[in-house]
C-alpha cells in the first residue's frame, strides 16, 4: 500500500477498495494529467507500476472482504429486490454486523439489509443518510420464508465460550462467595426459528454452594422464535435453563421497532434441578412465574424505561423499574424493585467478552460469547427479592437491539 502513496495517487486505502472500478478510473484520470511532463518510457513504467499497485490493493481488499463475509451465515443476496438476508451471531451490536456486511458487499445505498435471528427475519434496514427501517408484514414474511433457507446446513458449527458467575459478598466468614464456571456452548439450528442450545460446563471455582465441581451439562433447551407480524414476536423455551430451573418459558412482545412504546408478557412453569456427581436431581415443576411489562424508549439517548411486575419465583409478587442505557455494544442498567419479600436496587450490564472470534472456517467457528450478562442487587444474596432465572432468549433485550433509532444513531 505504501508504494501507492509514494506515487501520490494512492489516497485512502479503504476508499479505493470500496470504490472498485470507479476509484480505478479516477486514478487513471489523475495519471493522464501527469503524463505530459514525463517521457513516454517513464510514463509506461509508472503506468504499469500504478496498475500493479492498484490490482494488489484491490486484491488485498477483496480478500479482506471475503474474510469478513465468513462472519455471516445463511447469506442470501436477492439482487432483483435489492435485498440482502443474513444472520450474524458474532457481534452483540447488530450495527457492527450491518456496517461490516455493507462494506464487504459494496452494494448501492438502495440495498436493504434484513438480519435474521434464528433464521427469522427481524426487519429490513437501509443504511446511509436516507436511513430507513421497514417492518415486515405477515405476507412479506411468508414470501421471505420461501426464498430464504433455514436449517442446519446453512449455519456453522459454532462453539462459544461463555463465562458464568454467581456471587454473594455479604457473608462474614467468607466474604467473597462465588461460583465461577466456563461454558462451552453450541446451537443447533433445526428448522426456522427453532434452535437447540446445548453445551458443557467446566467448573472453575465454587465456594458459593455445595454443588460438586464435576464437569456437567450446560443449560440445554429448545427455543422457538416466531415473528407473527411486523411487530408481534413470540419466544418459547423448553428445557434446562440457567439458575438451576428447568421447565417451560413463554414470552410475547409487541414492539414496533420504529416506535418508542412496547409491551410484553412472560409466563413460565419451572422446578429446581441440578447435577450431583452422578445423574440428575430434580424436583417437580410447580413454580409459576407470570410477568408483564411496559417499556418506553427515549430515542435521543437510547434509554429504555421499563416498568414490570407480577409474580416472580417463590410466589414473590411485586414491581420493578428499570432504566437501561444502550451504548453501542454494551448495555448498562439500574433498577429498583419492591416485592412482598422486601425491596432492593442494583445495576446490571450486558457486554461482549473479547476477543470475539478466535478461529473460523466456512463450516466451523470458535469464539467468545457475544453477550455476558450480570446483575448486582444491593441485598439480593439470600433474601430472594424478586428472584428470576435466566433464559438465553429474552425478547425485550433482543428487540431493543434492533430498534431503528439505536442502529441509525450509530452510523458513522
Amino acid at each position: 500500500m505504501h508504494v501507492c502513496e509514494d506515487t501520490d495517487l494512492g489516497g485512502d486505502n479503504r476508499e479505493n477498495c470500496l470504490g472498485g472500478t470507479s476509484a480505478g478510473a479516477n486514478k487513471l484520470r489523475v495519471f493522464s494529467k501527469q503524463v505530459h511532463i514525463v517521457t513516454i518510457n517513464r510514463s509506461a513504467f509508472a503506468f504499469s507500476w500504478i496498475f500493479i499497485c492498484w490490482s494488489v490493493q484491490v486484491g488485498f481488499c477483496q480478500q479482506q472482504d471475503q474474510r469478513a463475509l465468513l462472519n455471516y451465515e445463511n447469506l442470501t443476496i436477492d439482487s432483483a429486490a435489492q435485498r440482502v438476508y443474513y444472520e450474524q451471531r458474532l457481534y452483540r451490536n447488530p450495527m457492527i454486523g450491518l456496517l461490516e456486511l455493507s462494506q464487504a458487499l459494496a452494494k448501492p445505498t438502495t440495498t436493504e439489509f434484513v438480519p435474521l435471528y434464528q433464521g427469522v427475519p427481524i426487519a429490513s434496514y437501509r443504511l446511509g443518510d436516507a436511513w430507513q427501517t421497514n417492518l415486515l408484514s405477515r405476507n412479506e414474511r411468508k414470501a421471505i420464508g420461501r426464498l430464504i433457507p433455514a436449517g442446519p446446513g446453512h449455519y456453522k458449527v459454532d462453539f462459544r465460550l461463555h463465562p458464568d458467575m454467581v456471587a454473594n459478598f455479604g457473608y462474614k466468614t467468607d466474604p467473597f462467595q462465588a461460583k465461577i464456571s466456563l461454558l462451552l456452548q453450541t446451537q443447533l439450528y433445526l428448522t426456522r426459528g427453532l434452535v437447540l442450545n446445548l453445551g458443557v460446563l467446566f467448573p472453575i471455582t465454587n465456594n458459593y454452594d455445595t454443588q460438586p465441581m464435576n464437569i456437567r451439562p450446560a443449560p440445554i433447551y429448545l427455543n422457538q422464535f416466531l415473528a407473527l407480524s411486523g411487530q408481534d414476536f413470540l419466544s418459547g423455551s423448553v428445557g434446562f435453563f440457567y439458575s438451576n430451573q428447568y421447565g417451560v418459558n413463554l414470552q410475547y412482545r409487541r414492539a414496533n421497532l420504529t416506535k418508542p412504546w412496547s409491551f410484553g408478557l412472560e409466563a413460565s412453569l419451572t422446578g429446581d434441578y441440578y447435577y450431583p456427581t452422578k445423574g440428575i436431581y430434580y424436583e417437580s415443576m410447580n413454580r409459576a412465574m407470570l410477568l408483564a411489562d411496559v417499556a418506553y424508549r427515549i430515542s435521543k439517548r437510547d434509554i429504555t424505561l421499563k416498568v414490570s411486575g407480577g409474580q416472580y419465583l417463590y410466589e414473590d409478587r411485586g414491581m420493578r423499574i428499570d432504566f437501561i442505557r444502550q451504548l453501542y455494544s454494551v448495555e448498562v442498567g439500574v433498577f429498583a424493585m419492591k416485592t412482598t419479600k422486601g425491596s432492593t436496587a442494583g445495576f446490571n450490564f450486558a457486554v461482549p467478552i473479547p476477543p470475539g472470534r478466535i478461529a473460523q472456517s466456512k463450516r466451523a467457528r470458535l469464539r467468545t460469547t457475544e453477550e455476558y450478562r450480570w446483575e448486582y442487587s444491593y441485598n439480593g444474596g439470600g433474601n430472594n427479592v424478586g428472584i428470576r432465572y435466566r433464559v438465553g432468549n429474552q425478547l425485550d433485550a433482543l428487540l431493543r437491539q434492533y430498534h431503528s433509532d439505536y442502529l441509525r444513531q450509530q452510523q458513522p
Binding site: 459494496a106 455479604g170 462474614k172 451504548l327 422486601g342 445495576f347 444491593y378
Partner: protein
C-alpha cells in the same frame, strides 16, 4: 480552542471515590457521555475515614488502617455519572466487620457545564442504602479552567461537603428492605471525616498529560502529581497532610465507539 480543551480533559485525574477530581476532593468536571473508567486508590492509615465504630458493637478498640478503594464510573448520560466503589480495609479485621468492603453507589450531576465565562457546577450524592459508607458524599462543587499559556492550564475548584448523611447502620442483620430504617448521622463524629465542610483545590496541567495539584480536602492540605499515558491510563500520587503517601491509577475508555475499521463513512454513503 476552549471547547477542544474541554473535550480533551474528559479523562484525567480521579479522586479517592472514583470521580473526576484531584486526590480526595471531587471537581465539577464531568466525563464525556459513555465514558467508562475503572481504577484503584490507596488511602493511608493515619487518615482512615471510617466511623469510629463502623458496625455498631463490632469492636471497642478501633485500629486505624490503610484502605484500598476500587471503583468503576460510567457517564451514563451526558451530564450524569454513576459510580460504584468498594472500600476495602487493608489488613485483618474483627470477624463481624469482614467483607470484600463496603459498596457505595454515587451519582454526580452537572447542573452547569463550563463555558468561556461560566464555571461548571456539579452536585454529588451517595445512595443512602449503605450500612457503613466511609466515603459517603453529599457535596456541591464548582470548577473553572484557566488557560495560562498554550500548554499550561489551571483548573480551580471549590465546594462544600455536607457533614450530615443518611445510612442504614442499624440494619446489619435485618437487610430485607433497603428503603427503610434510614438514620441521620454527623460525619464530624468520625476521627477523619471525609469531605465534611468547605474544600477546594487547583490542578496545573501541562498539555493535559502531566500535572501537579494542591488541595484542601476539608480536613487537611494535600499535594500531588499525575501523568496520563496513551490518553487512557492515569497514574497519580500525593502526600496527605505532608505526612503519608496516597496513590491511585485509573483506566478510561469510551463505550460509544464502533470498531476502527467501521468508523469511516464508506465511499458510497458519502
Amino acid at each position: 480552542m476552549i471547547f477542544a480543551l474541554l473535550s480533551q480533559k474528559g479523562w484525567a485525574q480521579v479522586n479517592i471515590s472514583g470521580k473526576p477530581g484531584l486526590m480526595n476532593i471531587p471537581t465539577a468536571r464531568i466525563l464525556s457521555d459513555g465514558t467508562f473508567q475503572i481504577g484503584y486508590h490507596y488511602n493511608p492509615s493515619h487518615y482512615d475515614p471510617r466511623a469510629n465504630d463502623p458496625n455498631a458493637g463490632v469492636s471497642n478498640n478501633f485500629i486505624q488502617s490503610s484502605s484500598s478503594v476500587y471503583y468503576a464510573t460510567l457517564a451514563i448520560l451526558p451530564r450524569l455519572e454513576v459510580t460504584i466503589n468498594i472500600f476495602h480495609v487493608n489488613g485483618d479485621l474483627p470477624l463481624r466487620a469482614r467483607g470484600i468492603g463496603d459498596r457505595q453507589f454515587d451519582v454526580k450531576y452537572a447542573v452547569l457545564t463550563e463555558r468561556e465565562h461560566r464555571p461548571s457546577v456539579a452536585i454529588i450524592a451517595s445512595a443512602p442504602f449503605g450500612i457503613d459508607n466511609s466515603l459517603v458524599t453529599y457535596a456541591a462543587v464548582t470548577t473553572k479552567n484557566f488557560t495560562l499559556s498554550e500548554t499550561f492550564t489551571a483548573e480551580v475548584s471549590a465546594g462544600f461537603g455536607s457533614p450530615y448523611y443518611f445510612d442504614r447502620s442499624d440494619n446489619g442483620g435485618n437487610n430485607f428492605d433497603i428503603f427503610s430504617n434510614y438514620k441521620l448521622h454527623n460525619k464530624n463524629e468520625r476521627p477523619h471525616p471525609y469531605l465534611s465542610g468547605p474544600f477546594g483545590g487547583i490542578a496545573f496541567r501541562y498539555k493535559q498529560k502531566l500535572g501537579g495539584m494542591i488541595e484542601w480536602d476539608s480536613q487537611q492540605l494535600n499535594l500531588g502529581a499525575y501523568a496520563k499515558l496513551f490518553d487512557r491510563w492515569t497514574m497519580q500520587a500525593g502526600v496527605i497532610n505532608f505526612d503519608q503517601i496516597t496513590f491511585g491509577t485509573s483506566y478510561a475508555v469510551s463505550l460509544r465507539k464502533l470498531p476502527k475499521r467501521l468508523r469511516q463513512k464508506s465511499d458510497l454513503e458519502k
